[in-house]
């Protein structure tokens, strides 16, 4: 298991949280975290690990900060 800090942005925060320490299996990817949080992957715009853009298949390490942003497209 690994403890990560997960940060959510914009409407992904609604009925969830802004920032939280979460425990996941060592093999968990960013996509696994997104699905665990009941976020629709199709609505995800940007994902970051420790402030660096990453893809959904990336496996964060213990202590990493994972940030998840929705697509914001309105004008």
């Amino acid at each position: 298991m690994k403890v990560l800090t997960v940060k959510l942005f914009a409407y992904f925060r609604e009925n969830r949280f802004l920032e939280k320490e979460c425990c996941y299996p060592a093999s968990a990817t960013v996509l696994d975290i997104i699905q665990d949080l009941a976020i629709n992957p199709d609505e995800v715009g940007v994902t970051m690990i420790n402030s660096r853009h990453c893809n959904l298949e990336k496996k964060p390490e213990a202590g990493d900060k994972v940030a998840i942003f929705p697509v914001i497209g309105g004008g």
Binding site: A10, E43, H53, V71, G74, G75
Partner: protein, 241 residues
């Protein structure tokens, strides 16, 4: 007429004085800054929510020439957030309503209306542009505009909104900000609801960033972006990585 007014203002500035309409820009802007803004051309892509506020502020700042680009007309459900949507403007072309408003605010700047998509107007206008402002409402159009600006080596001031939330960043000629924000397959919820304060906040930062780009001023938002949450509220600037 507009050219005469603008030339008059430039002559006054060149003599070391401020025309009254710009007098209260004195301080944050120098006379040479104001001359530079009056010699600049900016395209506003999308003249609805963000675009309305951006146009309003660029006209008041004294940007010399504005190209207004939007194929749409005002609809009743624009009223909650779009500055130029009123009972009088429903059914009218957004670019024409914005043009009329600019002439009321500042008759000494030039503006042209293009009732078409930015992709279609771009070949006509790109040659004289200094900055493009992204006030679009579609991910597909944003990606296309991001690519057009990169090819034309034009800086792009990006803004986008949804509900209480928004984002603002500057794609400099060397950056690929729009691709970084939108290249994932993700789709936005169709026609998101957006609140007026969110639109006004993001539009304000876009106008400020546009002004600074024209003046060659540095910004922490160059090749980077800010995620704004007006509900919590929190404002997070992303590192430039």
């Amino acid at each position: 007429m507009v050219e005469n007014l603008q030339q008059h203002d430039l002559n006054v500035l060149a003599s070391g004085k401020w025309p009254e309409r710009y007098l209260r820009n004195n301080g944050p802007l120098t006379i040479s800054d104001q001359i530079r803004l009056l010699g600049s051309t900016v395209a506003v892509a999308g003249c609805g929510g963000l675009g309305g506020y951006v146009i309003e502020m660029l006209a008041r700042l004294g940007i010399g020439e504005l190209a207004l680009v939007d194929p749409g007309v005002f609809k009743p459900d624009n009223a909650n957030r779009q500055l130029y949507c009123s009972s009088e403007s429903i059914g009218k072309d957004k670019v024409q309503v914005a043009l009329t408003r600019i002439r009321e605010i500042n008759p000494a700047i030039q503006a042209q209306a293009f009732k078409q998509r930015i992709q279609d107007a771009f070949p006509t206008i790109q040659g004289k542009l200094n900055v493009v402002v992204d006030c679009l409402d579609s991910v597909h159009d944003r990606l296309e505009l991001g690519r057009l600006c990169r090819t034309a080596r034009l800086p792009l001031v990006h803004g986008a909104v949804n509900g209480w939330y928004g984002q603002i960043g500057v794609q400099t000629v060397k950056s690929n900000l729009i691709e970084r924000l939108y290249s994932k397959a993700g789709q936005e919820k169709a026609s998101p609801s957006v609140l007026a304060p969110t639109v006004m906040y993001i539009g304000s930062v876009q106008a400020a960033e546009t002004c600074k780009l024209l003046l060659g001023k540095a910004s922490t938002l160059h090749n980077s972006w800010l995620s704004a949450d007006l509900c919590t509220p929190t404002f997070d600037r992303m590192d430039n990585r």
